[in-house]
């Protein structure tokens, strides 16, 4: 009997030959490795091969992962066995969050890994790893049961290399919970940085469409004593000093006054004819004479350099 360290609890005689000394990591890892409980949860075609892996011929219980459980609370292993759709990723993330730590994810098959044959589909998520941390990817469409078993064994080897000192789930204030995505007009992640990014890109796109827009002739009302042309601005605010509205048939021009600015989405009407009046900046008076031919005419809008910006034809009466 070895010398007792001072202050250590005495080890009874009958136990002494039955004690095995090892590291904490080994105990933890061996326990986890050979009692992986996968979730009974199938998504698509790959799930059938998963079921078969559990059946007599391949029998995954040989490798210590026999007990498949339908409740996420009791499982360690989430097998994403099939195509992840946008509609389904919301419950999947919720299931993942409901599992207790430590939890592992195996992405089974081409679909779960990257969208597979259905990647271009509008309802398909191109890879579960866009939402969940994945431990092992198993290729195939579907992976054969042997391939899946190889994936499991790879996961086991990975678990064997973990150490309680470095794994995150014993840390204080650690939470592996993943934000649950939301189904809007299309799916969006509820992570703040992601929301910010979507917003920024959308604003940029709106600005780009905006910048591509310009004042255009939207309507022509040329029959009657108050004829007017509507010019609408679908782009950014535009200084229209020196811009001209030109009548095709009569070859006459109206020049906008200096300092005239057309705001985004605003419109201006240019009036002519005996009854024409103009009270506000958005109604400009050209002349009291008829300027447009009632049998049909074309209006052209030119910028200060004389480039044609917009053109509109009226068929006449």
């Amino acid at each position: 009997m070895a010398e007792q360290p001072q202050g250590a609890a005495p080890v009874p005689e009958e136990v002494q030959s039955n004690v095995l000394l090892t590291t904490v990591d080994w105990i933890y890892n061996t326990g986890r490795t050979f009692s992986l409980w996968p979730m009974t949860f199938g998504l698509a075609c790959c799930a059938i091969e998963f079921i078969v892996t559990g059946a007599a011929r391949y029998d995954m219980s040989r490798f210590g992962m026999e007990v498949a459980r339908p409740s996420p609370r009791q499982c360690d292993l989430l097998i994403i066995s099939g195509t992840v759709t946008k509609k389904m990723v919301v419950p999947i993330v919720r299931l993942y969050n409901q599992m207790a730590e430590p939890r592992y994810v195996v992405s089974m098959g081409a679909c779960a890994t990257g969208g597979g044959p259905f990647k271009e589909g509008y309802n398909v998520v191109s890879g579960i790893d866009k939402y969940l941390p994945v431990d092992v990817y198993v290729p195939g469409c579907p992976p054969t049961p042997e391939a899946l078993l190889h994936g499991f064994i790879t996961l086991q080897n990975k678990i064997k290399k973990q150490s309680v000192r470095t794994v995150p789930w014993y840390r204080k204030s650690y939470s592996g919970a993943v934000p649950i995505p939301v189904l809007g007009p299309d799916i969006f992640s509820s992570r703040p940085e992601e929301i910010k990014r979507v917003r920024e890109i959308n604003t940029q796109r709106m600005m780009a469409t905006r910048a591509a827009g310009a004042p255009t002739i939207a309507e022509m009302h040329i029959l009657g004593a108050d004829e007017f042309i509507v010019i609408r601005n679908s782009g950014l605010a535009q200084d229209m000093t020196g811009w001209r509205l030109h009548s095709g048939a009569g070859d006459q021009s109206y020049t906008f006054p200096a300092g005239f600015v057309l705001m985004p989405d605003a419109e201006v009407r240019v009036h002519s004819g005996p009854d024409a009046t103009a009270a506000t900046p958005s109604d400009q008076l050209w002349t009291k004479r008829h300027m447009w031919r009632n049998e049909g005419d074309t209006a052209n809008l030119m910028d200060a350099d004389g480039n044609l910006v917009s053109s509109f034809s009226h068929q006449g009466n």
Binding site: A56, P70, P91, G115, E120, G121, P185
Partner: protein, 590 residues
């Protein structure tokens, strides 16, 4: 495509004047173009006086930009009616709708089975069916932006209208789809979408109106509760969801909810060339991929015409594969059905053992256990490897008959099984027909309708077999139908193996024909798949990819009967009733 006939010659011009606008000749026969407001009257005439008791297929087509079409007839709704008593081909009705506000009356008053298919057309095409009791989205979610099957709706990773995409061509460099999309992922937000200010639309919960106290007077006050089953639930065979309202243990209302596996098969199918769709059909009903191959091949061959008629040997190989598939499917379905009953996994182990042997055969002939991709237009892709026939012969003549006996001995007479199943999930023959049910579900209600007999395709008219039907109208009958159908499949297999001729496996014209361009037209090809009537409705505009690629999924349409069968039963029975429908989500959601 269309050839308007004279008014006097139009059908029903005496009975229902103005109902039929034109008669269109096409590849298969003719179809009647009906005025939308007269549709219900024509359908009543078909059902009550002409014996067309089964509304099999109902779908929409978007003809935006199709030659000869304008905004006034952009959408078309196509109906295929069959007669289960006479058999034979379909009666095809078409209704044309304009681009703005497309709407037409629902057929649910005549054929209640139109329910799910109309909801699908509404979801994917935005066509409204006036009078439909709950016209809501079904595959996508409320609030989804747009109707994705419309031709002018483009998916987030949209690249071109048809494949092969330029970026995948040998000369080009492959471009990541993610890089093309500004958001870097498979999403597409409408202009002006702001995730922070966006709020969830209020969705209609159809069951809410039922809940509350059940109004029974007396000392014991009970309340109805709404329970959610799925999409992650071991009994739903995938990602199906049922919302059930319970009064105690009894189900008082049920609402199926699907689309969790909606992977846009039909939209992708329109971009693919005809041949490219073949492996996709494997993934529809992924338990019976060979049957799906067969149905699709038959539909395309109808479009392509005589030159693509399969050779004799190919026909036999197809039948052999299809019948082996039927056994695979029924084994799996019976096995999982016993899981649902509570015999957890043991019967499934027995069933899967036999299934594995057949999968070995599939693997050696096609290269893959499940996703066989075996059939081609005009034949099959590979001949049998050496030794295949002997293995199959042993299986079909010795192993399978013995094992089927064994399964029957364990399962059919089992007292617990009888107690649980007999009288549960009652569906009368009339209801089954009205709800458009097909396959074992219909034959379990005593209607001996099997397309192999009613409208023989391939070479099924050469074999001697019985159409199995049991008239218990319950879960037990459906189970018996499956057990007995396996025996009939073995019978067909024995004959087919004996008669299998030598010869080429592909029609001469079809050899190496990777891109086929069928003539303009539309066609509906269907087979008796293990789950029911599996049909493909194809519209061709003469190009290498289909204009419309529609799958008529039997298990999706059989779900019409789920709520009527379950309501009134116990919640534990809901599980086995669903199990006896035998759904596969790849096919239900596509």
């Amino acid at each position: 495509m269309s050839e308007p006939t004279l008014d006097a010659a139009l059908p029903y011009s005496d009975l229902l004047p103005g109902a039929v606008l034109a008669v269109e000749k096409n590849i298969e026969g003719e179809s009647l173009v009906v005025a939308p407001d007269q549709l219900v009257a024509v359908a009543e005439q078909l059902r009550d006086h002409e014996g067309f008791d089964l509304l099999s297929n109902l779908t929409a087509v978007d003809y935006l930009g199709f030659p000869g079409r304008s905004a006034a007839d952009r959408f078309e709704i196509v109906y295929h009616f069959y007669s289960t008593t006479r058999g034979g081909g379909p009666k095809v009705l078409k209704a044309r709708l304009p681009e703005t506000n497309p709407a037409l009356p629902t057929l649910m008053s005549v054929y209640p089975g139109a329910d799910l298919q109309e909801r699908e057309a509404y979801d994917l095409y935005g066509i409204r069916f006036l009078g439909h009791p709950s016209l809501r989205r079904i595959l996508l979610w409320d609030g989804f932006n747009g109707h994705p099957m419309r031709k002018d709706w483009q998916e987030a990773y949209f690249e071109a209208e048809s494949k092969p995409f330029k970026s995948r061509h040998p000369v080009g460099h492959h471009i990541w789809a993610e890089d093309r999309n500004p958001w870097g992922s498979n999403v597409n937000y409408p202009a002006g979408f702001d995730p922070e200010t966006w709020s969830q639309p209020v969705t209609l919960r159809p069951l809410e109106r039922h809940s509350g106290s059940n109004g029974v007077s007396g000392a014991l006050k009970t309340e109805r509760i709404v329970v959610n089953m799925g999409p992650q639930h071991p009994s739903t065979h995938g990602v199906f969801r049922m919302i059930v309202e319970l009064d105690g243990e009894t189900v008082t209302a049920l609402e199926p909810e699907m689309g969790y596996l909606h992977r846009n098969h039909e939209k992708i199918g329109e971009r693919n060339t005809y041949l490219m769709n073949m492996p996709y059909t494997d993934r529809l009903d992924y338990i019976s991929s060979m049957s799906n191959n067969l149905a699709y091949a038959i539909a395309v061959e109808k479009l392509l015409g005589e030159a693509y008629k399969p050779t004799e040997r190919a026909e036999y190989l197809r039948v052999i594969m299809a019948e082996l598939t039927r056994i695979v499917n029924h084994l799996f379905s019976v096995g999982t059905f016993f899981n649902d009953l509570g015999a957890f996994f043991t019967p499934l182990l027995y069933a899967v053992r036999e299934r594995e042997l057949i999968l070995d055969l599939f693997e050696s002939v096609s290269g893959s256990r499940m996703m066989c991709n075996y059939m081609r237009f005009g034949g099959v892709v590979a001949d049998l490897p050496a030794g295949w026939l002997e293995t199959c012969h042993h299986l079909v003549h010795e192993r399978l008959p013995a094992k089927l006996d064994e399964l029957e001995r364990y399962l059919i007479g089992n007292e617990i099984v009888k107690q649980r199943c007999i009288g549960v999930g009652y569906l009368s023959a009339a209801d089954a027909l009205a709800l458009s049910c097909t396959g074992p579900q219909l034959r379990g209600s005593g209607v001996p309708y099997d397309i192999r007999r009613a409208e023989p395709y391939s070479i099924y008219d050469r074999f001697d077999f019985d159409v199995v039907s049991f008239d218990g109208c319950d879960v037990y009958s459906r189970f018996l139908v499956r057990m007995e159908e396996m025996r009939q499949s073995v019978r067909i297999l024995q004959q087919a193996l004996k008669q299998l001729p030598e010869g080429p496996i592909q029609a001469a014209k079809a050899l190496g024909a990777y891109t086929v361009r069928p003539p303009v037209g539309d066609v509906y090809g269907r087979i008796e798949s293990p789950k029911g009537e599996l049909g493909f409705y194809l519209v061709s505009n003469g190009a290498g990819n289909p204009w419309r690629y529609r799958v008529r999924p039997p298990s999706y349409i059989n779900l019409n009967a789920l709520a009527p069968m379950v309501v009134g039963n116990k919640v534990a029975d809901a599980v086995i009733i669903l199990g006896a429908i035998d759904i596969v989500l790849g096919e239900v959601d596509r």
